[in-house]
């Protein structure tokens, strides 16, 4: 085990995979000479040269599509899209092409492609630079979408994504790059499609991913200390496929759930999880499933407005209390019957 930042884990993994496999190459805006907007690719141009670390023109559709085409011929490109907001410029190539090519042609061509891109708001970046729109990709069969929350998962999921023969959208988060954690030395890939129960408990299940997995864990710690609550936390890690069995198993045990997401509530990832719980654990629920999500506005620049729109630790604590109150009322009612 080595303690390192999420950024370092990504950097080291990219480098190790490039050393391991000549077919791995990096493409993206400002990833070479500038060393990446968030410095994930620092030093890699100097080490591997222009052939394998390609600064692209500002042309998301063009270079993402080119990476897909190169993948069809057996290369394993890792594309960096500076933020997930800009991925919308490549939406046609990702959704209509990367996700379709394997199936649409009857399995004749694989697309072993990774698209790394960070989400994350709350840094006064304004409406266009603060979106969490991974849902757009998680909606699409043919894509895989992973969202590591820790340096260890960043490593093991990036290894899995690069070695996978399908297009993988690899969601990072601006707020996580400097977070630290233990990272194993070995290069065992994570299993895509599996969530992690990061804390076991019996009172209620908190479900989150990426940065919100940390918020969920923080709330669990805080309420354990303040209220003696025994909270289970699920870090989804994979948004497509979604690990429904792990969610259901947990809710069957705790009988209550709060979903924590920093995308918009309506039609969001949380809506899918809530529907999953309704389908798989309806009879086990003692309270309605709550979602804590962003206010449904284009995120404003001004700090007080921005803060008001984003889900906070206190919002989650309130939702947990209200849900457990509802559980208590139900138990009282059942007791009187």
């Amino acid at each position: 085990m080595t303690t390192m930042t999420y950024r370092q884990a990504l950097h080291d993994t990219l480098r190790a995979e490039m050393l391991r496999d000549e077919n791995v190459l990096l493409l993206g805006e400002e990833i070479g000479v500038f060393e990446g907007s968030y410095k994930i690719t620092a030093g890699l141009l100097a080490e591997f040269g222009e052939k394998r670390v390609r600064d692209t023109p500002i042309a998301e559709e063009g270079f993402t599509g080119a990476a897909i085409g190169a993948a069809m011929l057996g290369l394993r490109p890792v594309v960096e899209i500076m933020t997930i907001n800009f991925s919308l410029l490549a939406l046609d190539q990702i959704v209509n092409h990367a996700a379709k090519i394997y199936g649409m042609f009857g399995g004749q061509a694989k697309v072993p492609l990774v698209i790394r891109t960070p989400g994350g708001g709350g840094q006064q970046l304004g409406a266009t630079h603060s979106q969490n729109i991974e849902l757009y990709y998680a909606f699409v069969p043919g894509l895989k979408v992973v969202a590591p929350s820790t340096p260890a998962d960043a490593k093991s999921l990036l290894i899995a994504a690069i070695r996978d023969d399908d297009p993988v959208l690899f969601l990072e988060n601006l707020a996580l790059y400097n977070t630290k954690g233990d990272v194993p030395e070995d290069d065992t890939p994570a299993e895509i499609g599996r969530a992690a129960v990061t804390r076991t408990g019996r009172d209620i299940t908190l479900i989150g991913y990426s940065r919100m997995a940390h918020v969920a864990a923080q709330v669990a710690d805080q309420l354990a200390a303040s209220d003696g609550l025994d909270i289970e936390v699920i870090d989804l890690r994979s948004l497509r496929p979604l690990d429904r069995p792990t969610i259901i198993e947990s809710v069957k045990k705790t009988h209550a759930a709060v979903i924590v997401e920093d995308d918009w509530l309506t039609y969001g990832i949380g809506a899918e999880i809530a529907a999953t719980i309704s389908d798989g654990a309806f009879d086990y629920l003692d309270a309605p499933v709550r979602r804590v999500a962003m206010a449904e506005v284009p995120l404003p620049y001004s700090k007080p407005l921005e803060t008001a729109a984003l889900p906070s630790v206190d919002d989650v604590i309130n939702a947990v209390h209200q849900t457990l109150d509802a559980v208590g009322r139900r138990h009282q009612k059942v007791g009187h019957d």
Binding site: L25, P57, G62, I68, G69, L75, G107
Partner: protein
């Protein structure tokens, strides 16, 4: 740089296009004088006859596809290469078997001419298991890895970045193959076209971009959609060598294509505009009411299969008996393709989830529309936790 900057600016009709062909290609078009008969070697005769045979094969295939479509044997959209036969045969004649081809959704003729068994192309149209894409693609999505046809693509312009990436992969590995990427005239207004040309020129990629200019989007003319209607000139913005050629003459197209492929094989992208015709509507169901009577008359005169066949007879390359024999052979071949397609089974619905992912993945959904997400759960023990 050999962009043909001296070509006339007007490009409204075929005559203007033909004029610019002359100024756009340094060498005069390969055309035998009308009255005189050139003595040809048996090899030349065989080659010319084969070109005609290939053009006719595409023609009859597409006519049969149209018929099968109206008989509801083919579903979805169905865009035909009628009028594009000379362009298809000329373009692909320059490719080696190891080169790669990307096309748009009007690609049946390209598939056949690439050497794919017409039976399998027709079976794909019929949605059958023996289709080139196993019935998963249909008319717009023909793919055959063994013939290096890397797709028919239904989204206008979608194939251009992909083809550019394929060229990148070739260059990355130091290979000698080239990529040819065809598109329609309307496609040159899409961002993906410009982004791809820019990337190909920056990285010196071995790719030939081909614009099939039939002068209509669906019904919108080039002049109404492209501020520079001489589409090959768009290469100039990216310092990509480019030319325009008469797409009704298979020999002129072959020559232009050979030059383009040579440039690409030497590591520079090339942009070739092929001025073509679309003899019918945008797709089988389009009655093309936007065509004027005069245009329709002109279209018949511009039929490349008829024109080339007549030229070969006139120049005594082939005689009427040979023409009839080719017609007979081609028709029989298409009959066989249609019979094969009809006899081929439809894919087993049990394979519905086989092609979502190449690498199997945990928790992949294999739920049919009417099925619940979970099997009905046993009710919780009423005593538990209460």
């Amino acid at each position: 740089m050999t962009n043909q900057v001296n070509a006339p600016r007007k490009a409204a009709g075929r005559s203007a296009a033909a004029k610019s062909v002359k100024s756009a290609t340094a060498a005069p078009a390969k055309r035998a004088p009308r009255a005189k008969v050139t003595k040809r070697t048996p090899t030349e005769v065989a080659a010319l006859t084969e070109i005609y045979r290939q053009m006719l094969l595409i023609r009859r295939f597409e006519e049969r596809a149209a018929r099968s479509y109206t008989q509801a044997l083919i579903g979805g959209y169905c865009h035909l290469n009628l009028g594009e036969e000379a362009a298809v045969v000329g373009l692909l004649s320059a490719l080696a078997p190891t080169d790669y081809l990307f096309t748009n959704y009007r690609e049946h003729g390209y598939a056949i001419n690439r050497g794919i068994d017409p039976n399998r192309v027709m079976a794909e149209l019929y949605g059958r298991i023996d289709g080139v894409s196993k019935g998963w693609g249909g008319s717009m999505h023909m793919f055959d890895i063994s013939h290096r046809l890397l797709g028919g693509y239904g989204i206008v312009g979608g194939q251009i970045p992909l083809a550019t990436g394929a060229a990148l992969a070739i260059d990355y590995r130091g290979g000698s193959e080239v990529v040819m990427c065809t598109m329609g005239d309307g496609t040159t207004n899409i961002g993906a076209f410009h982004e791809s040309l820019n990337i190909a020129a920056l990285w010196n990629l071995p790719i030939v971009y081909v614009i099939i200019n039939n002068r209509l989007g669906m019904g919108t003319t080039v002049e109404k959609s492209s501020a520079e209607p001489e589409l090959f000139r768009r290469g100039e913005a990216y310092r990509i060598e480019s030319a325009r050629v008469d797409g009704l003459d298979p020999l002129a197209v072959a020559e232009a294509s050979a030059k383009a492929v040579t440039v690409a094989r030497a590591g520079r992208p090339y942009l070739l505009e092929v001025v073509s015709e679309r003899l019918r509507g945008h797709s089988v169901v389009d009655p093309a009411k936007y065509r004027t009577e005069a245009e329709i008359v002109q279209l018949r005169e511009h039929d490349p299969v008829v024109t080339f066949g007549a030229k070969l007879v006139r120049e005594r390359v082939i005689d009427a008996d040979t023409m009839a024999a080719i017609e007979h052979e081609v028709t029989a071949r298409i009959d066989e393709a249609a019979a094969f397609a009809e006899a081929s089974p439809t894919p087993d619905v049990a394979t519905l989830f086989d092609y979502t992912y190449a690498t199997p993945v945990a928790n992949d959904s294999r739920r049919l529309p009417g099925q619940p997400l979970f099997d009905p759960a046993p009710l919780p023990d009423p005593g538990e936790d209460q």
